[in-house]
Symmetry: C2
Subunit: 346 residues, 2 copies
């Protein structure tokens, strides 16, 4: 158990000297030991242990041009950022995958519009090998920034760009939002419900519009007044529900674009004396831990594997970085499946 004067750090040179080999051999051993004879490997390993040697990261990065770190960019100006279990789970998945590949996670939170410059500079500074970005809104400058920085990037959620931006295929990971929504609405319809309303998410997020599209796929002739827009929060879901009830007192089903909004909607339904699912059937989206199952009645919802998506994002990026060194092309996007989880609300 070596514990040299804290702050002092032995160099590879010292290890080599102690092991009686050249710096190059010591380096080889430290990096796996391929092509070095066993006795020397052992000697060097012992020297490393005795000295408590840890490679200097900066020196290594300087020559290899790889940092072993990945940026996670979260551009959500709202309070939702972390409080939203959605992000928590994605981050966990990302963290697990990166850790498994000895890669560090640098967190880049955007607090305001002025932060884009900062991010651009950071990415250009060569601090990280790649980036993971989330929750992009229409015309978000992040894709352009990462592109200019030549930074391999994988997106969480399908980026929704306008024609103004180039439609180059950017790699992303997303749930099958449209398909999941279709399944939910079909389920309500097959239950015999006649007036199925939809509480949609914000118009500028692809996950929201995709789910809305899924709703329309099944009910192409639905009255637009059966659709209300929320902001993916419980409160906004409550507001939207109240709106819908005012417009359509006789609605008998609601498909909310996420569980949080469904929980707000449920509150309002109860307040207004509607039995769920008796009078109104309710379906959510996400199957969020500690939301869907904890509701009363427990929420029927569309499940997506959020942590798995995070893992997948990281895996895609890391694979891309490897191939980069061998000169291959960008990774493809992945759409993950969704499943309808039947509980008591519909």
């Amino acid at each position: 158990m070596p514990e040299p004067s804290p702050g002092f750090r032995p160099t590879l040179e010292a290890v080599a000297a102690r092991a009686g080999v050249s710096r190059a051999t010591a380096s080889r051993v430290v990096n796996g030991g391929a092509g070095v004879r066993q006795p020397l490997v052992d000697k060097v390993r012992r020297a490393v242990d005795e000295l408590g040697y840890v490679p200097n990261h900066a020196a290594r990065t300087l020559v290899t041009r790889r940092t072993g770190a990945v940026a996670v960019i979260i551009a959500e100006p709202e309070i939702r950022i972390f409080s939203d279990p959605f992000f928590s789970q994605q981050i966990r998945g990302i963290s697990k995958e990166l850790t498994a590949h000895d890669t560090q996670l640098v967190l880049l939170l955007l607090e305001g519009p002025g932060d884009y410059d900062r991010i651009a500079r950071y990415l250009a500074g060569g601090h990280v090998d790649g980036a993971l970005a989330f929750s992009l809104h229409t015309d978000d400058p992040i894709p352009e920034i990462t592109r200019r920085a030549g930074m391999p990037t994988v997106y969480g959620g399908r980026p929704s760009w306008t024609a103004a931006q180039d439609h180059q295929a950017v790699p992303y990971v997303d749930a099958d939002n449209r398909g999941g929504a279709r399944a939910a609405v079909r389920y309500l319809r097959d239950l015999g419900r006649r007036r199925i309303a939809h509480i949609a998410g914000p118009r500028d997020q692809a996950s929201a519009t995709d789910r809305l599209d899924g709703y329309r796929d099944v009910l192409p002739d639905a009255d637009p007044a059966l659709i209300a827009e929320g902001g993916f929060t419980a409160e906004s879901g409550a507001l939207a529900m109240a709106e819908l009830l005012a417009r359509y007192p006789d609605l008998d089903a609601v498909f909310a674009a996420n569980d949080l909004m469904a929980s707000g909607a449920l509150r309002v339904l109860k307040e207004q004396g509607r039995a769920v699912p008796g009078d109104v059937a309710l379906v959510g989206f996400d199957d969020m831990d500690s939301v869907a199952e904890a509701m009363d009645p427990p929420l029927t919802t569309v499940r997506q594997d959020i942590e798995g998506q995070g893992r997948l994002m990281a895996r895609l990026l890391l694979r891309g970085l490897e191939q980069d060194r061998e000169g291959a092309q960008a990774p493809a996007s992945v759409i993950t499946p969704t499943t309808l989880v039947r509980r008591a609300s519909a």
Copy 2:
């Protein structure tokens, strides 16, 4: 707007050449320009812009021995990690302060016990200049790890160590948990409540025991059966509340050690037909956004400035790092004040 072949990065050498000065002068300008004549400063600045020069971080770190990054270590094995708004807010505060000092945030999530090794290696690798750590439990190995790595560290929440570990003063930031708890319990007592119960947090977290101590300060003779232990989650609060009601059907007030547990307690109180605050007055702790205020009735609670604490942690660490270079001692701890926020539940 320079946009050289992505991936290519001009060096300081190139800037110097373009500006017609030496690398040394270019470096001086890039680092603030102190002691360089204005015309040269301008020339170099122009070259920087034209070339789109961004300093190579690794090279700079190699010579300065500073990384400009700080690790945030979160050692919470539970699901709570990010879902808990508490962490979100601390992280936001930390992020804001670090950003303001051009310092990066490296996130180190501990997923399992085996991760301690990984963290130790990382800290020893000189990737970061300092660390911020949270949510330490009794005998948590993190303090020992950071100490051995010689890594300046500021803790979030008072570390609760046993005598087995050295009681060296480690710098931490914490709310005045004991004082806040005292204020809450005194308030209930002054309301005329006679049987004031306490839902405590986990015994191995200082914030929980400090709040319990505050309760005891005011009610030294309270029956231990009036105290139930939860796990800082809503569910555990509900369980504890049920327990307390079984033991003390005539209790008339509850002080919960955090808002989440208070929300669980409220659910049970309602289920069992107790009016709040009519029959039972309820006070929480934290004043969590989107919990306390959203409850019905809105929760009277002890507010602490969580984001401010995060900011303060970062500030303390950064200040410590500066002084380190001038050879000063570790920063002192800070206890932030709490205030009782009166709403409708008590």
